[in-house]
Structures are given as C-alpha cells and as structure tokens.
Amino acid sequence: MATEVGPTPVKAPASGGAPIHHGPKGVGEDNKILSQGKWASWLLAPTIIALAVVIVYPIISAIVMSFQKDAGLDPATGLFTAGGPAGVQNYVNWLAQQCSAPAGGTVACPPGTLGAQFWSATATTFFFTVVTVTFETVLGFWMAMIMARTFKGRSMVRAAVLVPWAIPTAVTAKLWFFIFAFEGIANKLFNTSILWTGSEWPAKWAVVIADVWKTTPFMALLILAGLQMIPAEVYEAAKVDGASAWQRFRLITLPLVKPALMVAILFRTLDALRMFDLPYILTGGANNTTTLSILVINQIRQGFNAAAALSTITFIIIFLVAFIFVRFLGANVVEQSGATGKGKK
C-alpha cells in the first residue's frame, strides 16, 4: 500500500486501513476524488433536494394519479362515477379517443369534447414544432452568418435581436393579436382582409409567425456562438486552396457548427413541443390550434386523473423526441457542457 504514492499526502483510510480501492490511480489520487465526492454531494444536495421536491415528486404523483378513475360527474354522460383504480383506462381513453358511455363501457367521444381532440392536438403540436423549428433554424442560421461578419453597426444588430427575446411571451401573444386584428396592421400592410384568428390555417400561421419572431433570436445567438468558435485561419486556408463560398459553407461551417446547431435545435424542439402561452393567448386554442399543453390545462378542471394521464403522455412524447435527438442525431448536450471540467483536475 505504501509503495504507491500519489501527488498528495496519503491519508490512512478511516476504517481499519483496509485497502478498498485498487486501481491504476495512486492511492492519494483516489482519496482526493473521494473527498471531492463528499464535498460535491454536500454542495449538490440542496439543488437535488429542491428539484426532487418540485419535479420528481409531482411526476410520481402524476403517474400515480393517471391510474386512478376520476370521481364525480362524467362530463360526457352527466352520470356520477366513483373513483378507484382505473388501470390503464385513462391512457386507453385518450389514445382511442373514447369516453365512458352512460350504460357503462365506452363509446367514441362526441366531437367537440376534450376527449375527441387528442390526435388533432398531437398533430397540431408536431405541426407547430416542425414548422417553427425549421423556420427558426434557417432564419437563425442566416442571421448568425450576418452577425458573424464585421461591419459597422454590428453591435446594434446584435443588441436588436435581443429585443424579441426579452419581451415576455404573454406580451408577444397580445402584440401579435393586435397586429393580426381584422383592422390591424398586417391586413393593412398586405392589403388583405383575413380574419387571422377566425379560421384554421390563418390562425396556425399567426401562431407560427409570432413564435418565429420571438424565438429566432435565441437560435441565432446560439448558432453565432458556434460560428465564433471556428478559427478564421481555417477559412483563410480554404480560400487559398480555392474553395468557393458554397464549399466553404458546406465543408467548413456546417460540420464545425454542427454540435452547437444540434443543441440549439434540440432546445428549441423541446420548447416548441410544450408550447402553451402563445396559442393559448393568441387564438385561445380555437380553430385547431390546441396543443397538447392546452389540452391538459383544459382537462384539469374536468378531471385531475385524466389530465394526469394526458400530461404523462405529453411527457413521454417529449422524452422520446429528446432521446431520438441525443441518440441518433448526436446532440450531445451533457458532453458539450461537461467536457471542459474534466481537463483541469
């Protein structure tokens, strides 16, 4: 035991001196990690406990609730139903869009009730996610490329993009509600007379436009930060070798900015999947702009347990999307953020 001497003085293990850790590292190194581990657990404890209370406990309780029947008057039938264990009935009801029938058993939910909206809400949520994230990525990339150039007034542009980001979503929603009002500036500017929040596609596009306006800056800043990591010499060398602008973009910019880009897309995708404020205030979820989050909120007052099942489904969907991103598309968030800490001792 005494033959291996680490960089720090060897402390005798507390309990009887039994050599617990035998590894390639010296004993001292090992002790150091142990004592750092103790320190770390004390320092991390408040955060972990706080998150356990405000996140882990509600999740578990939501999962428990989701397997219970809702007591009270069934909104679809008007009959009183008792609580009690429900098995997976709540989940089946959502996925199959079933409601309990007056005579017992289940029937398809009548159109217009919350139960009949699961798949349309899912489709709407994914539509918003795919469309907004696509626009935000393309626009954000373009903005970042512009902001990465040197020109007079660059800092003004960089400051300006922070303005939409700083405006609270609730205010953004009201602002665009006003812009898209029938007599509002959007219709006047394009000389149209569209009832923007009055029918399905205008309403959807209103939400998309407002969301793209609000969140593209965030995307642009993340991508810009990635662009700035690329050393200028790489471009110089490529230029000398005769690479065209398009080649430089495709062969240097894209691959080198990819890690930052993937993280930005992942953040935005997960954010878009839980979209709530904007459609809730802008369109009230009318005309097929109800997202899964809005559906959960509308369900809460009609039955906790069914709402808990729906929120669990939403959670699982978001988790799966995150998993696919990290596993198959290489958005390595933890490595990205944890990599530097390791080099220093």
């Binding site: 400051a159 300006a160 993009v161 009201k174 006003f178 930052a260 404020d277 989050s293 909120i297 959670f315």
Partner: protein, 299 residues
C-alpha cells in the same frame, strides 16, 4: 527583353484587374451585408416598435397606420392601471417583482453551490447529475401542473404566493445551475489555488477570492433567472388568484370597458411597461447576457 517587359505589364494589368474585381465583389458583399442587417433590424424591432407607438395613441386612433407617433397621449397608461374594469395591473406588477425576486434569490443561493461542484470538483455521477439538471430544465410544465393543482387545492394553497413561487423554482433553478456552471469553468481558478497555498481553506478561498470574481457571472445569471420567472405564464395562469396574479396573467386577461371591444391601446401600454425595463436591462448587459444564454451550447 521587350517580350519580358510586355509580359510584366500585362501581368500587372491583370493583377490590377483582379484587384479591382476583388474590390468590387467586396463592395458588393459589404452592400449585401448592410441590406441583410437592415432586414434583421426591421424584422426584430418593427413589431416591438408598433407596440410602443400604439401605446401612445389615442383610443380612437387604435388602427392608425402612420409609422411615426401620431395622436400622442398618455391616457392608455392611466387606463392600464385603472382598476374599475377588474384589471389589477399595478398589483400584478408588484406580484411579478415579488415572485421573481424570491425565485431568483432562492435559485441563486441554492444553485451557486451546485454550480461550483459541477465546475470544479471531480466526482462520480457528475455527468448523471448534469444530465438530470439539464433534463429538468427542459421539463414540460404541464407535467407538473396537474398534481400541483390537486395538491395545492387539497392543502388550501391555491392562489397563494408560495403556490406560484415553488413551481417556478423548478424551472429557474436548473437554468441557474447550468448557466453558472459554464461561467464558473472560465474563471481564473489558479487564484483559488494560490489562496489555498497561502493557507486558506477551500471554503475561505471560495468566499474571499472566488466570490468577488464571480460576482458579474452571478449577476448575469440573476438577470436571466429573473427574466425567466417574469415571463412565466403556464403555472401562474392556473394557480394564481386575482390578488396574486403576475403581469403575464394580468395582460392575458386584460378587460376593457365593453366586453366585445378589446382595449388594444391599453394592453399595448401595459405591455410596454412590462417590457421596457427588461429591454433596458438586456441592452445594458448585452454581452454578458449573450454569453450566459449561449453558455453550455458551446464550450
């Protein structure tokens, strides 16, 4: 001899032409950059500008289309604070400041220790903890709201401040830890080591050397935390009461004199009041905030 001279002149001419061409294309590229920059500026600022301009317009000219301020009045700001239609905008402002302040303070106090550990110490499960905190920051709010709604109903917390503050911490704390961890990684930790060589304990070195140096990072994180809490709507829209609602909820539910008429100018005035402090804060601390926002996404 002459052939060599003429080839030299033609070479020079070609070089000149090439240079001029390069200069021209550079000018052209520069011009395009300015046009693009102008487009970005207009796209980002025009809607926000429209809100401010409308906020200063007389109600009768709500839909006025002149780009410059016209029919200027301050009435809308009075209307925004007017409580006779059931709006409690002034109270909501105070609520938001209070909730945001408490959430920010608690998150910072708890989070600074975790960030220090994650940035500085080596321990097992470090990546698991980082992953857990990151996962928490992307967590959908609706997954929390149902059980909290029931829990707070049962224990009579509905509409109380703590019912708004506690869930908010779950959103803000991960963000705080995450941002501060990346800030802490870039600090000159050699100073801590020299302090320890000079006989400080790790705790003392942290308090006396690192904390003063970390102050700007902590301040930036505080701004980000406050903004995130200030913008929160989902939890507040369900768990707050008329007395405790924050500004986001107050603005979303803003009512006018007539039920069928949306009081646009007053809403824009309220929106302006809510937004201007944030925008000023963000513009003043622009560099730091961008660093904080993008921290972690790139090393």
């Amino acid at each position: 001899m002459t052939a060599a001279t003429s080839s030299a002149t033609s070479l020079r001419a070609e070089q000149d032409r090439g240079r001029r061409k390069a200069q021209n294309s550079e000018k052209w590229a520069q011009g395009r950059t300015y046009i693009s920059a102008a487009v970005i500026l207009i796209w980002c600022l025009a809607p926000a500008y429209w809100m401010v301009v409308t906020a200063f317009r007389e109600v009768g000219f709500t839909y006025d289309t002149s780009i410059l301020p016209s029919h200027v009045t301050l009435d809308n700001f009075n209307t925004a604070f007017d409580t006779s239609f059931g709006n409690r905008f002034g109270q909501a402002l105070l609520n938001s400041v209070f909730i945001g302040g408490v959430v920010t303070l608690v998150s910072l106090i708890i989070g600074v220790f975790a960030a220090y550990a994650l940035a500085r110490l080596n321990f097992r499960f470090k990546y698991m903890v980082l992953g857990f905190i990151l996962g928490a920051s992307m967590f959908p709010g609706v997954a929390l709201i149902t059980p909290l709604f029931q829990l707070f109903t049962n224990i009579g917390w509905m509409g109380s401040y703590q019912a708004l503050i506690i869930p908010n911490i779950s959103f803000v704390l991960p963000l705080t830890v995450y941002t501060m961890t990346s800030f802490f990684r870039e600090m000159p930790w050699e100073l801590e080591e020299s302090a320890r060589v000079d006989g400080c304990t790790q705790g003392q070195a942290f308090r006396k050397v690192i904390m003063p140096l970390a102050a700007p990072a902590i301040f930036t994180t505080a701004i980000l935390a406050f903004i995130s809490s200030w913008n929160e709507f989902l939890i507040a829209s369900q768990l707050s009461s008329d007395a405790t609602q924050p500004v986001t909820v107050a603005i979303a539910n803003f009512a006018g004199a007539q039920p069928n008429q949306v009081p646009y100018t007053a809403i824009m005035a309220a929106g302006t009041i809510v937004t201007i402090p944030l925008v000023i804060l963000v513009l003043v601390f622009q560099r730091k905030i961008v660093a904080g926002l993008t921290a972690g996404a790139v090393k």
